[in-house]
């Protein structure tokens, strides 16, 4: 078993040698990810694990991918997407150009879901979705827009519950075990690495989606990231969080107004 002290040693190594700062992640979650990876890769001692993470660049790619959580789905929380479709995007549709940031996009399922809604509202042609993640390898997957066919039944149900208007299968072609999503969707996406812990604001957006990313951060880091978002959202723009995340305890929360029952806030 790896103890708290060893976790700290490892995370300090990672910061010093690779420039990624995990020290403000929620301790129990990050520890669990580390222990999981240690077991998955059959390390025999902490010393060996530490040495490999520190010195092996190829292994560090895997470390980064496994230590962060990359579980996501299309149209997760259908009622959230319903609210985007009915309450948020029609308002943004009155702008000449819509800039959206999906922060922590992982393998891209949310970016594609969003593009589908924009397309159905006839807004995709004037939208640009910036999809970013700390992790270069998940972005490679996101660019391809190919998701396991076995998940599509669930995604299709989510889509219909979210108020989807079409036959979901019109958006992809089945290719062996994968569903390849239409390139008209990804043509409006820009993929780039961005580390919410250390990177700055890079544009102004009318909508930022960051769902189920902040749960892995401690409170201090959450507030830093809210400040980063605040400096990246236009006046009257929107911020969307995961179903168990909240702006509530952030000092500037008063400058935002909640949109109905969903975890969506509008900057006043």
């Amino acid at each position: 078993m790896i103890d708290n002290e060893q976790v700290e040693i490892l995370l300090n190594d990672v910061l010093e040698n690779h420039g990624y700062d995990f020290l403000e992640y929620s301790p129990a979650s990050i520890k669990r990810r580390i222990i999981r990876l240690y077991g998955l890769d059959n390390f025999v001692s902490f010393a060996e694990f530490r040495y490999t993470v520190k010195t092996d660049k190829q292994y560090f790619k895997r470390f980064l991918e496994e230590i962060t959580v990359n579980v996501t789905e299309m149209f997760r929380d259908p009622s959230f997407y319903k609210s985007l479709r009915n309450d948020v995007l029609p308002v943004l549709g009155t702008y000449p150009f819509i800039r959206i940031w999906v922060a922590g996009c992982s393998t891209g399922e949310e970016a594609y879901s969003l593009a589908i809604v924009l397309k159905e509202l006839n807004l995709l042609h004037k939208s640009l979705i910036y999809a970013t993640d700390i992790n270069p390898s998940v972005l490679e997957k996101a660019k391809k827009g190919m998701f396991p066919l076995s998940y599509l039944k669930q995604y299709s149900e989510n889509y219909l519950q979210s108020g989807g208007l079409k036959d979901f299968s019109a958006y992809y072609t089945a290719n062996y075990s994968l569903a390849k999503f239409d390139e008209s969707l990804s043509s409006k996406m820009i993929f780039s690495t961005h580390n919410l812990v250390s990177d700055h604001s890079f544009n102004e957006f009318q909508l930022i989606l960051c769902r189920n990313v902040l749960i892995y951060f401690d409170k201090g880091l959450q507030h830093k990231v809210f400040n980063l978002f605040d400096s990246s959202i236009e006046k009257l723009g929107y911020l969307a969080l995961g179903s168990k995340e909240s702006l509530e305890f952030w000092p500037k929360a008063r400058e935002y107004k909640r949109v109905k029952m969903e975890k969506i806030w509008r900057k006043l």
Binding site: S26, P27, A28, S29, R32, V71, I215, Y216, G242, E245
Partner: protein, 194 residues
């Protein structure tokens, strides 16, 4: 007498359950004392779509405060925290709650193992974990961990479980401190308060 000495040190109670556990919970909750001095955490497998059903059912049957766990919320005495559907729930060293949307464990999210393991390290010998009815083996690894940190392991008597598989697996793999019939659970919990 023995139980009085034991129980004075209970700082958290975690109850894990799957198929068939709701009946037991509905039997336990109305019979709990109002002045419970430790937090009670529930990790129950269920469909994400029935999100508030469990919370509402339990609220109607106890005077204790019942709510779905919020991330970063601190475990407070006398309060019931329900692990939200479709998230794993962890306990931090400072006794706050972390939620996690990582891979399912034992086909389950929330996984009972995840919460038992995290709590075992934090509360050590001051933790009591109860595993109820269920048809998979989630919770068993967690109970092993609770055991190794000196926490108390309580298993529902499989003969009184609607789905005996889960408590059976636990009884086969962990030496429990006690095996209880479902009707004796509330009394046991109330005595942890003495």
């Amino acid at each position: 007498m023995a139980q009085t000495i034991d129980s004075a040190s209970c700082e958290a109670l975690i109850i894990g359950g799957s198929a068939g556990s709701l009946d037991v919970l509905l039997e336990i909750f109305p019979a709990l004392r109002k002045d419970i001095r430790f937090p009670i955490v529930l990790v129950v497998h269920r469909k994400p779509s029935n999100e508030s059903l469990l919370t509402d059912l339990l609220k109607s049957r106890t005077t204790l405060a019942v709510g779905e766990a919020e991330e970063k919320e601190f475990l407070a005495p006398g309060k019931v925290f329900i692990a939200p559907a479709d998230y794993h729930m962890l306990i931090e060293e400072d006794r706050s709650i972390s939620l996690d949307y990582s891979e399912k464990i034992n086909y389950s999210r929330p996984s009972i193992d995840v919460t038992f393991q995290a709590a075992a390290e934090v509360f050590k010998e001051k933790l009591v974990c109860i595993l109820l009815s269920g048809s998979n083996s989630d919770g068993v690894e967690g109970l092993k961990c609770v055991n190794s940190f000196g926490g108390k392991v309580v298993i529902q008597n499989p003969d009184t479980a609607i789905m005996p598989y889960m408590p059976q697996q636990a009884a086969l793999n962990v030496v429990p401190n006690i095996i209880l019939d479902s009707r004796d659970m509330a009394d046991y919990i109330n005595k942890l308060n003495d």
